[in-house]
């Protein structure tokens, strides 16, 4: 049943969107939040368990201090106030994937509160998103519904529960209501998520792979008439797990709600789900007063005490933040805004930086990673990092060019050899005997031959018409099987003409 939608442009002309994001980031600790169970993606179902993560009678949670360190790092990166005393609470509800039938989360005393994140948009505009809190909690297990269509619970004849994920540490980053975004709301939401992804990667606290569920967001959207101060009723679209999905969810909800409001209807306060296949959100559970999680402080866990010394120690270990790093590298590399955006969009910042560190020029590194290598990665559907060539290899090729040992053509063949698994550039060059001919004797002979074969061309050149120069160089190249240094050939030709 297709829902009525308003055109996006009309919707944002008539209504002012207010939105908020609750982002779950799975931490990349070795063990779970409250027990020493090992965490590994893709393990055999129910193989990563302890009495604690299975909620066995008598088991007790003990906080993983590494997860707390990670939370502090994220709090610092998001300019949060880090509470000296924070507390875990129990969120009580029955669900098969919850081993204790309550989640341990932070409620009224989160570790991180009141921060912000400056988000840079495509055109360079910076939008500040206020952060309400970033709290620590444990994840639930995973239900698999069997026997129905598409793994949905409807129509399934039974379900399987895998508790490997139960107890994996999460940080939930909650924004304050984001106002004033107007028509750019979806773009800001997407850029915010990418910024969070970049930060947690830079901090090395999460694998941050959305496709593996390391990051997912609940998207809250409401509309209000232009000029109104009061928030409208919101919908909450749960567990959106791609950047595009977040932008599309925002657009869809704005269009859907606008159509309802324009017809004089009311927005239902409900949780919805983003359907990637139909590119729509579907209504889920209506939120009501019946949702009562009976939060209370978890008596099994003492309050979390974070000393100033601990925060100071972690502050000193903080890496450069992604936005600052981008600005610094752009300056160092002397790239234009446009060039830099291409680098970011190609996700090539890390590889270019590594290639420059290995000795290549910034422009040389960019040429390879955004050219040949991006094409190769796209064709294979892998990231630049996953290609069979390292930044050191690329730097080595660049050096061979600079030293006059390879020309462009040979360099491309060398890179192709590395990608084909033939070894490092030196190995490929050696195996194929790639070598620029710069021996004057051989080249002079080849030029003489070319002159003799093309007297008309020589005439034109002598008369100052340099256009046919390519014909001579081409002939020399053919004679030397492409190994001639074009610059050296040109020099000899010029000398002979004068």
């Amino acid at each position: 049943m297709a829902e009525k939608l308003m055109k996006y442009a009309d919707a944002v002309k008539q209504f002012d969107p207010v939105f908020g994001l609750e982002t779950h980031v799975e931490l990349s600790t070795n063990t779970k939040l409250f027990c020493p169970a090992h965490i590994e993606f893709g393990g055999e179902p129910n193989s990563q368990l302890t009495p604690v993560s299975l909620g066995l009678p008598g088991s007790l949670p003990v906080i993983n201090e590494t997860a707390v360190d990670y939370a502090i790092k994220l709090g610092l990166a998001l300019h949060c106030e880090i509470a000296e005393w924070s507390q875990f609470a129990r969120k009580n509800y029955f669900y098969p994937d919850m081993p204790r039938d309550y989640q341990i989360s932070q409620y009224d005393k989160p570790t991180n509160g009141n921060g912000y994140l400056d988000v840079e948009l495509e055109d360079g505009t910076v939008f500040r998103v206020q952060i309400e809190r970033a709290h620590i909690e444990d994840d639930a297990g995973k239900n698999t519904h069997v026997g129905g269509a598409d793994g949905r619970i409807e129509g399934a004849d039974h379900s399987l529960v895998d508790y490997n994920r139960a107890g994996v540490p999460l940080i939930e980053i909650v924004t304050k209501p984001i106002e004033g975004a107007g028509e750019r709301a979806p773009e800001i939401a997407g850029a915010y998520m990418r910024a969070i992804r970049d930060i947690v990667r830079a901090l090395n606290i999460s694998h941050a792979r959305m496709e593996q569920g390391n990051m997912r967001a609940d998207v809250n959207v409401s509309l209000r008439p232009m000029g109104s101060k009061e928030f409208g009723t919101r919908s909450e679209t749960k567990n959106v797990n791609s950047f595009r999905g977040i932008e599309k969810t925002m657009q869809y909800e704005i269009r859907r709600q606008a159509a309802i409001l324009a017809d004089g209807g009311e927005i239902l306060q409900e949780t919805r789900h983003w359907d990637e296949a139909t590119q729509t959100t579907a209504g889920g559970r209506v939120k009501s007063d019946a949702d009562d999680y009976r939060y209370f402080p978890d008596p099994d866990l003492v309050m979390l005490h974070i000393t100033k010394d601990r925060i100071d120690r972690i502050s000193k270990e903080m890496p450069e933040m992604p936005r600052e790093r981008r600005n610094r590298l752009q300056q160092e590399w002397q790239f234009s805004d446009l060039e830099m955006r291409d680098v970011i969009n190609a996700d090539a910042l890390d590889t270019i930086e590594a290639t420059v560190s290995a000795g290549a020029s910034a422009s040389g590194a960019k040429k390879w990673w955004l050219g040949e290598l991006s094409r190769e990665a796209n064709a294979k559907g892998v990231s630049l990092e996953e290609l069979d060539i390292t930044p050191e290899d690329v730097a080595e090729v660049e050096k061979l060019i600079a030293d006059g040992k390879l020309n462009d053509k040979l360099a491309k063949q060398t890179v192709a050899g590395v990608l084909a698994g033939e070894g490092h550039p030196a190995d490929v060059v050696k195996a194929h005997g790639y070598q620029v001919v710069s021996d004057d004797g051989a080249l002079v002979a080849a030029v003489d031959e070319a002159f003799a074969a093309n007297p008309d061309v020589v005439e034109k050149l002598k008369s100052g018409n340099m256009k046919p120069m390519g014909a001579i160089i081409g002939a020399v190249m053919r004679a030397t099987k492409g190994q001639a240094d074009a610059k050296a050939v040109t020099k000899i030709v010029m000398e002979k003409l004068h």
Binding site: P57, P61, V62, I63, N92, P96, S159, R294, F296, L301
Partner: protein, 513 residues
């Protein structure tokens, strides 16, 4: 050696002495107690599971180590067997919390206290009965059986730890472990004439103790003498990284304090009589024994003063908010998904996980447990939280203040443990409030996390044992043991030996070797 009767009537410390001197082996002790268990169980029914084979294997392992001189670093109680309340998980031995919902559950791990007992070479005789999930004061709420008081098998042994108390009182075990949330070790101690200790909260690891109310639960010793409890607490106490609420400190010198107390010199000690924990509601015989005991403390040199703890009358109310609130959350995990009972809905009801959980919990929990889950769910509900749980926590703070002020004036506080002696089966099961009143004197110590102990103080005019409670400041469990041991010695003098001499033990008749 001597006959079984003589052997099992020894204190645990005496048994340990005979092991040390190789007069008796751990195996002989286990065998003796297993034969008492066999004779006593038809009338006492203290045990839910007897783990005889495991106990004998543990005893043999210890005897071997001992014979080879490898047990020299073992605690004093090494080789002495012990019974375990079925609220504490034991690897490979069914653990039920006396609930149908855990019937057949065999834990894959040991509680920290069990690991410590095993390391000490103390064989586990079996698992003792209790009120379901430790919720009750008579052990009548067990889903499996009714435990009888060895003093009068028509009467309850108290609860929730009636099984551990009766087993020790009936000589089925020299020692036992209990759990105390509002008095579940001390009140059965009082009703069966045994010693029961609730250590400082955080003094003994809760890892592996099935949770009833996490902020109140403590594992503690049950024994026939004060010294035995001291020795046992030294084995099970100490910091455990697997329990976040465990206090990072060493166990105080408890046995030394008990041995010092046996000298019966209490000069310089100040004892506080809690005004609010006597008088109305306390059985005259209980009061009489209590007053005599206080006089004995004075005779041994203690200075006795009356202190007021004005907020204690509110403790029962606060307890019955906090405890059920935590119960409602702690017992949520028994949902049929992962272990224990699973009841599928009838065919005409949708076969969903939610329905399975509902049918399982309906069938698996008894009425008292359901009553507390409902109370706690209500107390934590949005809109009621501040009025109920929030207020109760404020009362808790006031009770802690009362204790702090009292301990500014005195070293140790005393009161009767329980308002009455053992009552008859069924006498209070239809009146929850009457049942809850049993814990009026024991609850304040749980709310404040301070250590407390009950020791036998004689027999009431009905011929049944009475209990005398001592309460010490937090982390000062040692302060309990000195006056307790002194009083025990003085009472033994007065009554011509331990109180249990007056108990009829037909199940021991004919037990000779």
């Amino acid at each position: 050696m001597s006959d079984i009767q003589e052997l099992v009537k020894l204190s645990a410390a005496e048994m340990a002495g005979k092991i040390q001197s190789k007069e008796v082996s751990s195996r002989e002790l286990v065998e003796a107690h297993l034969s008492v268990i066999e004779q006593a169980e038809p009338s006492i029914q203290a045990f839910l599971t007897v783990s005889g084979e495991e106990a004998l294997a543990q005893a043999d392992a210890f005897d071997e180590r001992h014979a080879e001189g490898e047990a020299e670093d073992a605690p004093e109680l090494a080789g002495v067997p012990i019974a375990i309340k079925d609220m504490i998980v034991t690897k490979g031995i069914q653990t039920t919390a006396a609930s149908k919902i855990l019937e057949g559950w065999v834990p894959p791990y040991d509680a920290t206290v069990i690991e410590k007992l095993k390391a000490a070479g103390m064989p586990l005789l079996g698992k003792t009965n209790l009120d379901e999930f430790a919720q009750g004061s008579s052990t009548e709420h067990s889903a499996y059986q009714t435990t009888h008081n060895p003093w009068d098998t028509e009467r309850v042994p108290g609860g929730s730890g009636g099984g551990s108390a009766s087993a020790v009182a009936a000589f089925e075990a020299p020692l036992a472990l209990g759990t105390d949330t509002g008095g579940s070790i001390r009140q059965p101690g009082a009703l069966t004439g045994t010693v029961g200790v609730k250590p400082t909260y955080g003094g003994v690891s809760r890892f592996g103790a099935i949770a009833m109310a996490s902020s109140l639960d403590q594992i503690g010793p049950v024994s026939r003498t004060v010294l035995d409890s001291a020795l046992l607490q030294e084995v099970i106490g100490g910091h455990d990284r697997r329990d976040s609420t465990s206090i990072p400190m060493d166990v105080p010198a408890l046995a030394a304090a008990a041995r010092e107390g046996a000298k019966r010199d209490l000069k310089g000690m100040k004892v506080g009589l809690v005004k609010e924990l006597s008088g109305e509601g306390f059985q005259p015989g209980v009061e009489a024994r209590f007053n005599e005991a206080v006089s004995m403390l004075e005779e041994m040199g203690a200075e006795v003063v009356e202190v007021s703890c004005p907020h204690f009358p509110y403790s029962l109310g606060a307890y019955y908010i906090i405890m059920p609130s935590e119960v409602s959350s702690n017992l949520a995990r028994y949902d049929g998904m992962r272990y224990g009972l699973r009841v599928m809905p009838p065919a005409d009801v949708p076969q969903t996980a939610a329905n399975m959980m509902a049918y399982t919990r309906e069938a698996g929990f008894g009425d008292e447990v359901k009553r507390r889950i409902i109370l706690g769910t209500y107390a934590l509900s949005a809109g009621y939280y501040d009025a109920w749980y929030g207020s109760a926590q404020k009362v808790r703070t006031l009770i802690i203040d009362d204790f702090n002020k009292a301990f500014d004036q005195v070293d140790v506080l005393v009161s009767p443990t329980s308002p009455s002696t053992a009552f008859r089966f069924g006498e209070k099961t239809d009146d929850p409030m009457a049942m809850y009143m049993n814990d009026i004197a024991t609850i304040p110590a749980n709310l404040a996390g301070v250590p407390a102990m009950s020791i036998p103080s004689g027999l009431s005019d009905d011929g049944l044992p009475t209990g005398f409670q001592l309460i010490a400041p937090q982390k000062r469990d040692d302060v309990l043991y000195k006056p307790a041991a002194a009083l025990e010695a003085a009472l033994n003098d007065k009554w011509g030996g331990p109180m249990w001499q007056s108990m009829n033990t037909p199940w021991l008749d004919g037990l000779t070797k």
